[in-house]
């Protein structure tokens, strides 16, 4: 990522006075003002506000209703987060889930991209469109469709499995993970396929020619040329989906409406934060501390993955 790519620009402006240049710079800065003003208001301030809130604790004094007093507590909330078993259980649940589902999504997307890449032109176009259809479905609708497909009452899946002699409850504690994984795969494969296919098409076809001359089959070409060439894209898309998945919220919330006893209120970290904010008495300070800890975890993971992938590419 090149922040300053202004080689050559200086050459053109040699003949301009420094004062003029400075004025031009100020004018240019004006274009960024709407964005940065809103960025300050809806990003920077909330960011520090969350840090600030997380350092306070709100305790109701005595019997009084509405006489809760807020006072500075230092890192007390963070100690509470560290000891919060259900929050870390949710974090672990989501982390393990992410580690299992992410590779599945990526492998699936990669296979799709490779298959489309090796199909004929007309089939290419048609399948790229068909496989992308789930991406065009709003995420809440995808979840709704699958929750109904899984449901014992109207869902066809239960009946299909019964027909082959299997009685599957898709919302049972064991199956729930499979059900949710399938939903996320269905939702996310198309978009990742598109990105991977995009980077496959940018490979120079000359490489394939020489490989074929050397007697390489199509599988060999896919394995030894295509996959290594898209590895950078693969890592990046992996990272993006991973950050998204650690913030899992909508899907478990809808599954919760279908099976509240399996999907608890603190099922994922974001659900825990939402729960503390709105249902468990509005403990904003604690919810803020939880948000900060979640952000740190995600930030650290992203930094590590990003660092590792950058080093490998060099």
């Amino acid at each position: 990522m090149d922040i300053a790519s202004d080689s050559g620009r200086a050459g053109i402006r040699e003949n301009l006075t420094p004062r003029w240049k400075k004025r031009l710079g100020h004018k240019g800065m004006m274009f960024g003002i709407p964005f940065f003003a809103l960025f300050l208001f809806s990003f920077i301030i909330p960011f520090f506000y969350a840090l600030w809130e997380s350092l306070y604790v709100r305790k109701s004094s005595g019997l009084g209703i509405g006489t809760a007093a807020t006072h500075f507590a230092g890192l007390e909330q963070y100690l509470r987060v560290m000891k919060d078993g259900s929050f870390w259980a949710g974090m672990g649940r989501v982390a393990v889930f992410t580690c299992v589902v992410m590779p599945l999504i990526m492998i699936f997307a990669l296979v799709e991209a490779l298959l489309i890449d090796s199909a004929k032109a007309r089939a290419k176009k048609a399948y790229r469109f068909l496989l992308l259809i789930p991406y065009m479905v709003p995420s809440i609708v995808s979840t709704l469709i699958w929750v109904y497909l899984y449901s014992p009452g109207i869902g066809p899946l239960r009946r299909m499995f019964l027909a082959i002699g299997l009685d599957v409850n898709f919302f049972s504690p064991q199956m729930l993970w499979v059900s949710m994984a399938n939903l996320l795969i269905w939702m996310n494969v198309g978009f990742n396929m598109l990105i991977l296919y995009g980077s496959l098409t940018s490979i120079d076809p000359v490489l394939y020619e020489s490989a074929k001359v050397d007697g390489a089959g199509e599988l060999r070409i896919a394995w030894s040329i295509k996959i290594p060439m898209v590895r950078g894209t693969l890592v990046l898309t992996c990272l993006l989906s991973m950050i998204g998945m650690l913030q899992l919220f909508d899907q478990p919330l809808l599954f919760r409406s279908a099976s509240p006893e399996t999907v608890t209120a603190n099922f994922t970290p974001i659900m825990t934060i939402y729960n503390y904010t709105f249902t468990a008495g509005g403990d904003y300070n604690y919810a803020a501390a939880l948000s900060v800890v979640l952000a740190i975890v995600i930030g650290v993971i992203s930094a590590i993955v990003y660092g590792v992938s950058n080093r490998k590419e060099r």
């Binding site: 004018k27 240019g28 995009g198 020619e209």
Partner: protein, 295 residues
């Protein structure tokens, strides 16, 4: 992209290739079936009455067509509340992404083509913000907005949607490559003002990133769930997603079964997103590739 190079490729002639062609097509057909079958179920189910839903095969139509009846029920629900949700979603996603597109391109232009103090710092802020999950910000935004009496208003959902650091980055990267400095210099020598240069010279060069930013933000807003469910209380300000969620919720605790309404609502909420995406696919496909290569 390399379409013109395809004819040069020699015909596949390994021992594998004889069956690999039909093999590829069969594998693709299976994957396409997986992608499309759930939607087929939705289309079939929306034509059924409540009783048929429970008693007939899910993958084929029932004896009678109840499509119009189901839509009528949906539109009549709470005196057309569904239309409000539809309107709200269009408002949040449409206005949000247009404004986001404009200010992101302006900011990207500023960062790409001007030198001023604090530019590096601004760039650093944008990079830093990539690491911060939006979920961290939703709660403090809620607290902040409730202090300003903005929660439960359209602004609470609209304002955060205007700001997307990744879009600014995308715009900056694109402008770096697509807008030559010489063009701007020439216009300045001719005496054109900066605003005029931006509107008449720079903007016409940027349909691709503009469309990309618009579509990515539109999809993001249309799918947005955590922010609206946090901010909005009154059902008259809800989005389609919140409305559908409320249908799912009411199922458990009342005698009223909203399944048919929920299915009809699901069909309606797919349409605007699909229309926008299909109409603009030329742009966002290339834009997505651009984002992934540069990002």
């Amino acid at each position: 992209m390399n379409r013109n190079a395809a004819p040069i490729r020699p015909k596949a002639n390994g021992p594998l290739s004889r069956w690999s062609r039909p093999g590829v097509l069969i594998a693709l057909a299976l994957m396409a079936f997986y992608a499309v079958a759930p939607l087929w179920w939705l289309v079939v189910s929306v034509t059924k009455s409540r009783i048929e839903l429970y008693n007939t095969s899910g993958m084929w139509f029932g004896a009678e067509n109840h499509l119009l009846e189901n839509f009528h029920q949906l539109f009549a629900y709470e005196h057309g509340l569904f239309f409000r949700w539809l309107g709200n979603s269009v408002l949040y996603a449409g206005v949000g992404s247009v404004v986001c597109m404009v200010i992101s391109i302006m900011a990207g232009y500023s960062l790409s083509k001007f030198e001023f103090r604090g530019r590096g710092f601004q760039m650093g802020l944008i990079m830093f913000s990539f690491l911060i999950p939006t979920a961290l910000l939703t709660l403090p935004l809620y607290l902040l907005f409730s202090g300003l009496h903005l929660t439960d208003t359209v602004w609470s959902v609209l304002i955060p949607s205007f700001v997307n650091a990744f879009d600014v980055y995308l715009a900056k990267e694109y402008i770096d490559g697509a807008v030559p400095d010489e063009l701007l210099e020439a216009a300045r020598i001719d005496g054109a003002g900066e605003i005029r240069i931006f509107r008449q010279i720079v903007l016409p060069l940027l349909p691709t990133p503009a469309a990309t930013i618009f579509i990515l933000t539109f999809v993001g807003q249309w799918n947005n769930f955590y922010l609206p469910i946090t901010m909005l209380r009154g059902s008259d300000k809800w989005t389609l997603s919140l409305g559908l969620f409320s249908f799912m919720q009411t199922k458990q605790n009342t005698l009223f079964d909203p399944t048919t309404i929920a299915l009809a609502g699901a069909v309606v909420s797919i349409i605007p997103l699909a229309v926008v995406m299909i109409a603009m696919q030329r742009y966002w496909r290339s834009g997505v590739a651009l984002g992934s290569v540069k990002g």
